[in-house]
């Protein structure tokens, strides 16, 4: 047991020493791995930020239906129950004529002439209304269809019409579309970069094996077992992954912190930098762990394959 621990420590130490000696060769591998990990991190955060933007706008979207003054309470109740039963409806809220008037008065309490005008009319000119929140923007259309059914149009005030947050819907559609494109492009870029980094690490380890073939040959003849020979190479490329993960986190940190303060946490086009920065910071440890895991996996896997392929550890027949 003691020997095994000594051996594991030696493998790790040799890997680190080799890494330091090999730094010029490793630079390319670290650079491309950093690009890969930065792309992954950036895509993740941008994706989360866009999803957040869409959710925020979604929550603001609603439909207001103004009711005919002749509609009875029972009719209102049935209408609302029917609306609630629609799968595309998240929430339904009723505002009576009196509530509408009270709200109008409190909103315009400073405007004496408006309040006076209301008392001149005598009766309440404001219609009762129902506010409908859809589950998401895609579901505005089925609600619209339902409202347009003849038995339902009869309940509505023909003069007031229905108000839709139509402009916001197109904005949301645009963002959703952009998010999809960015997500797909991100996945493609990540796959391409991951393949490139795996290949470069593979090649780096191959060259290292070639440079150290005498040493490896001597180790074999002295009875080193396969892991004692392979291990340092895997440790070395694991270090590429670790260092690249740290650099990529640092790049994103500087990028978001820098642009967030430069833009006063405002948004850059559709990208809400403030939120992105916040998202990055709240999930910092998870993101760092993810970067380390991905970096180590790419590094260790490609060097493992390289050692399997190029370290001829078997006897020729």
């Amino acid at each position: 047991m003691h020997r095994e621990i000594t051996t594991i420590i030696r493998i790790i130490r040799t890997g680190i020493i080799n890494f330091v000696r090999n730094l010029s060769l490793a630079a390319a591998a670290i650079a491309v791995m950093t690009v890969t990990l930065t792309t992954i991190l950036f895509s993740l955060i941008v994706n989360a930020t866009f999803s957040n933007t869409i959710n925020q706008i979604n929550s603001k979207i609603n439909i207001s239906v103004y009711l005919n003054s002749s509609v009875t309470t029972q009719q209102v109740n049935t209408f609302m129950t029917e609306l609630r039963n629609l799968p595309s409806v998240k929430k339904v809220n009723y505002t009576s004529q009196d509530q509408a008037l009270a709200m109008y008065k409190s909103e315009n309490s400073n405007n004496k002439s408006l309040i006076q005008a209301l008392s001149v009319i005598g009766s309440n000119p404001l219609p009762a209304s129902i506010e409908i929140s859809p589950t998401n923007t895609e579901n505005i259309q089925p609600i619209k269809n339902f409202l347009d059914e003849p038995q339902n149009t009869a309940l509505q005030d023909p003069q007031a019409g229905t108000s839709y947050s139509g402009n916001e819907k197109t904005a949301i559609d645009k963002i959703a579309h952009a998010t999809n494109i960015i997500r797909e492009a991100g996945v493609m870029a990540v796959i391409v970069f991951a393949c490139v980094s795996a290949l470069i690490i593979f090649n780096t380890i191959r060259m290292t094996i070639f440079n150290r073939r005498d040493e490896i040959g001597i180790m074999r003849l002295l009875g080193a077992n396969n892991w004692f020979i392979k291990g340092p190479f895997v440790v070395e490329s694991t270090l590429y992954g670790v260092i690249s993960a740290l650099i990529s986190i640092l790049i994103i940190d500087i990028l978001f912190a820098g642009s967030a303060s430069a833009l006063q946490a405002s948004s850059l086009g559709l990208l809400d930098i403030g939120y992105a920065n916040h998202d990055f910071r709240t999930h910092f440890w998870i993101l760092l762990t993810l970067q380390l895991v991905v970096g180590i996996l790419i590094g260790a896997a490609s060097s493992y394959i390289a050692t399997k392929r190029y370290l001829k550890l078997k006897t020729s027949r």
Binding site: E4, L222, G223, N226
Partner: protein, 230 residues
């Protein structure tokens, strides 16, 4: 008494057109024996050594070394075999970017010996091969004889049952060659089986040990207390 090394009708063919390099070689070596193998270049001496360390596999025939039957030896177990055998190579195979001490310690590091034990063992071995005080030298700074003794020190530091030395005196002048041979004799006296190949007649004649002569891949003579004769 069980044998330390057994070769039974061992044949090695690299190329069918040039014929076998070793042709049905049968050789038994007892524990603690000192055996000298002689023969001209190309007689098959080095191939025989490479078969014993499993760098090569025989085309046919049986090999048993230190109780390990090569027919039952998987690739995974080769390191264990090599740990039982100390080998001194014709071309030394030392790491030129490491000191004498580190080169010898390397053989121990590979098998997981602790640093403390290494610090204790290596100086003892350096004393056996008369290299005390040269611990911090690099191999290129040493003379041929000294380099060869570093290689021997590395081969014996794990106290193997068998020491195989392939032409260890090949590149040395007579005085240094004899220094190396004296070290081998000392190791043999400690109980290690030694298999030495050489084509240095004066060394063979002076040693007066068992001499096995190889010619064209065949053993043509095997005599005790023999003199050099090809």
């Amino acid at each position: 008494m069980s044998m330390m090394i057994v070769l039974d009708r061992v044949t090695k063919i690299y190329n069918r057109n040039t014929g076998p390099v070793l042709n049905r070689v049968t050789l038994h070596i007892k524990p603690k024996e000192f055996v000298i193998m002689v023969g001209q270049s190309g007689a098959g001496k080095t191939t025989l050594m490479r078969l014993l360390t499993r760098e090569e596999r025989p085309s046919s025939g049986k090999i048993i070394v230190g109780g390990i039957d090569f027919d039952k030896l998987s690739d995974k177990d080769i390191p264990n075999l090599r740990r039982k055998i100390g080998v001194v190579f014709q071309d030394f195979k030392l790491l030129n970017n490491r000191t004498v001490f580190e080169n010898i310690a390397f053989a121990l590091e590979i098998v997981g010996v602790s640093k403390r034990e290494i610090q204790k063992t290596v100086p003892k071995v350096l004393e056996i091969v008369n290299l005390k005080g040269k611990e911090k030298r690099m191999p290129p700074e040493l003379s041929g004889g000294e380099t060869q003794r570093v290689a021997i020190a590395r081969a014996i530091v794990r106290q193997p049952k068998i020491l195989i030395a392939d032409e260890p005196t090949g590149n040395l002048d007579p005085k240094h060659a004899w220094d190396v041979i004296k070290v081998l004799e000392k190791i043999n006296r400690f109980g290690t089986t030694v298999l030495l190949t050489t084509h240095n007649a004066s060394i063979v004649n002076k040693l007066k040990r068992r001499v096995v002569t190889l010619e064209h891949g065949k053993i043509i003579s095997d005599r005790a207390n023999a003199e050099y004769k090809i």
